[in-house]
């Protein structure tokens, strides 16, 4: 069964007097448990597609469904609640809050749940353990390496047990060795924890780790087998 379904998905932006078509009729299905890499040149629309699937933006036309929920019909408030329950985000520059410890950063999505403080702490500790950073729980982002910060970000992304992980250039700011560690972690999350992952990347080596690679160009898709 398809977890993500995009039908004739379009997105355009107005720049000055010009309308820029970023996505031009995307049709796509992503199955539950997939690990999909989206590749393509800058401006090809891959991050825009990721944002629409992650419920961060509304399409200009067409439909996007995740788990049978039509995101294009939801208000901003409904989308916020839906994202909290269903999506884990991993960003290129980690987007951790610098004043909070790793533990607190990981706990953030749980503040949107009815869990008690003790349960939140326990879940955050588990997530940090999965990414191998249980001994860095008290450290603030500034006291961690780039790879460690991305691991904390991944722990934050999985702590609320979301259906889908959307990763925007998760290794784009890391050296090769650290990038490989992060990709291995994503593989574990996909294969052992059953997480569906969509990853935007420029890095062919990162894309090789995905089960499926989709290429985009000028707002359109060209599929190829991994």
């Amino acid at each position: 069964m398809a977890l993500v379904r995009c039908q004739d998905l379009q997105k355009s932006f107005v720049k000055g007097r010009e309308t820029v078509e970023v996505l031009d009729g995307i049709n796509l299905e992503i199955q539950q448990g997939d690990f999909l890499a989206l590749m393509g040149p800058s401006g090809s629309g891959k991050t825009t597609l990721l944002n629409l699937i992650g419920g961060l933006d509304h399409p200009s036309a067409g439909a996007v469904e995740v788990g049978g929920v039509p995101l294009n019909e939801m208000s901003a408030r409904q989308l916020a609640k839906w994202r909290a329950e269903n999506i884990g985000f991993v960003f290129q520059f980690y987007n951790l809050l610098p004043v909070l410890s790793a533990q607190r950063n990981v706990e953030l999505p749980l503040l949107l749940t009815p869990l008690s403080s003790r349960q939140r702490k326990a879940n955050a500790a588990t997530a940090l353990k999965i990414v191998g950073l249980e001994d860095r729980a008290k450290h603030k982002p500034g006291e961690l390496s780039g790879g460690q910060q991305q691991r904390v970000a991944i722990a934050r992304a999985i702590v609320a047990d979301p259906t889908l992980l959307v990763c925007d250039e998760p290794t784009g700011d890391l050296d090769r060795e650290t990038a490989d560690e992060i990709l291995s972690l994503l593989e574990v999350l996909n294969q052992e924890h059953g997480k569906t992952i969509i990853m935007v990347t420029h890095d062919p080596k990162a894309a090789e780790r995905a089960a499926q690679v989709l290429r985009m160009d000028k707002g359109r898709l060209a599929q190829e087998a991994a």
Binding site: R77, E85, P109, L112
Partner: protein
């Protein structure tokens, strides 16, 4: 929702040290507004209190009908005698009221100092008067006792000092207090000696009356008005002093609020700028929180909480400056109603401190609203890129 607000607010507050400079501008700006407002209102309050403290519900002031102050009133001995026989009168004190030019300690410029000629009855009428240094007046001598405020404010008004009045030396033999009332801004002299020195014959300017009870005021005032032998009017002391303080109180309060409003504009823009800067500096953080599912309302509330928190800190600082810098600070100013200087203490009351905090809160809310709304409406996708 509350957990979201608390979490985001906590993060904002934790990041305050990173924005110490701009945050201090808000705190200091609002502290300035509150300090000025509270201090000026404390001045107005102190002035009114000094005058109103002189008033007792059991006392009345009798002066010439139509006179707007003791200065412009005259009573002859027969008036005094008739008053003394009225059944509502428990004690009475005929009093001379003149002013003399005496230099102030602050600027050495002459200012009007009240000289009140009294008999020993004045102390029976005003039991709150207390000699705190030296002794009471001796009848028939050119002696003065000085109120605490007069001694503090006027040059040469010291215990044992000679004061030149009407080309005669008068000796300050005592200092008195009067529970902080306007009497403390006066010099008192023996009535017959003062009448002679100031060439007033046997006339006086007013009669202070202690009534048999506070309830007797209405009957006493009616009796004075109805007596065809008299062209006098009796006013309750509280009413008299309230009238005297009204115009000056309104003037100082008006000035205080005007200055505070002008300063508040500056503080408002400082708060606005600081909070816009704070939001701008945290664009990516706010967008990240929104991406994770935090609502715009939580973000708005957190920015508002930070703005009002900073404002309240400023308000507390301003209140502390006003309290520790000026509470009890003695100054004198001209009472237009009596053409004399009134010494009074700034009174920074709890009510004024609360008012200052309310102003600070208002400034914080108004200054934080637009930046908070901007933060809540940040488009997530562009904000995540730091744009």
């Amino acid at each position: 929702m509350l957990a979201q607000i608390l979490a985001v607010t906590w993060m904002n507050l934790r990041s305050l040290p990173l924005r110490l400079g701009s945050s201090s501008v808000v705190v200091v700006g609002i502290a300035g507004v509150v300090a000025v407002l509270v201090t000026l209102l404390a001045m107005a309050g102190g002035f009114s209190a000094a005058l109103e403290r002189g008033g007792s519900p059991e006392r009345a002031l009798v002066q010439r009908a139509g006179a707007n102050s003791e200065m412009s009133s005259t009573l002859n001995p027969e008036d005094v005698r008739i008053l003394s026989t009225m059944p509502e009168v428990a004690a009475y004190s005929p009093e001379l009221y003149v002013v003399a030019d005496v230099p102030k300690r602050s600027n050495r410029q002459p200012a009007n100092l009240v000289i009140r000629g009294v008999r020993s009855d004045a102390f029976a009428v005003r039991p709150e008067i207390e000699i705190v240094a030296g002794r009471a007046l001796a009848p028939g001598k050119r002696e003065l006792i000085a109120g605490r405020g007069a001694a503090a404010e006027f040059l040469g008004i010291d215990l044992g000092a000679k004061v030149d009045l009407r080309n005669n030396d008068w000796t300050v033999v005592g200092l008195f207090t009067a529970e902080g009332s306007a009497y403390e801004s006066e010099l008192w002299a023996d009535l017959p000696v003062a009448q002679s020195a100031f060439r007033r014959g046997a006339t006086v300017q007013s009669v202070r009356v202690r009534l048999t009870s506070a309830d007797a005021l209405e009957a006493f005032a009616a009796r004075v008005e109805d007596d065809r032998r008299l062209e006098l009017e009796a006013l309750g002391e509280e009413e008299f002093y309230a009238g005297q303080s009204k115009s000056m109180d309104a003037l100082i309060r008006g000035f205080g609020y005007t200055v505070a409003v002008i300063m508040a504009f500056g503080a408002f823009f400082a708060a606005l700028n600081t909070m816009f800067t704070a939001v701008s500096a945290r664009t990516v953080e706010i967008a990240t929180l929104r991406a994770l599912g935090f609502g715009g309302g939580a973000v708005l509330a957190s920015v508002m909480a930070e703005a009002t928190g900073l404002a309240l800190l400023g308000g507390a600082l301003g209140g502390a400056v006003a309290y520790f810098g000026f509470n009890g600070f003695t100054v004198s100013t001209l009472n237009n109603a009596s053409f004399s200087q009134v010494a009074f203490d700034f009174a920074v009351t709890p009510e004024l401190l609360i008012l200052g905090l309310l102003w600070a809160l208002g400034l914080g809310l108004v200054g934080g609203l637009l930046p908070a709304a901007q933060a809540a409406r940040l488009p997530i996708v562009t904000a995540l890129r730091g744009e």
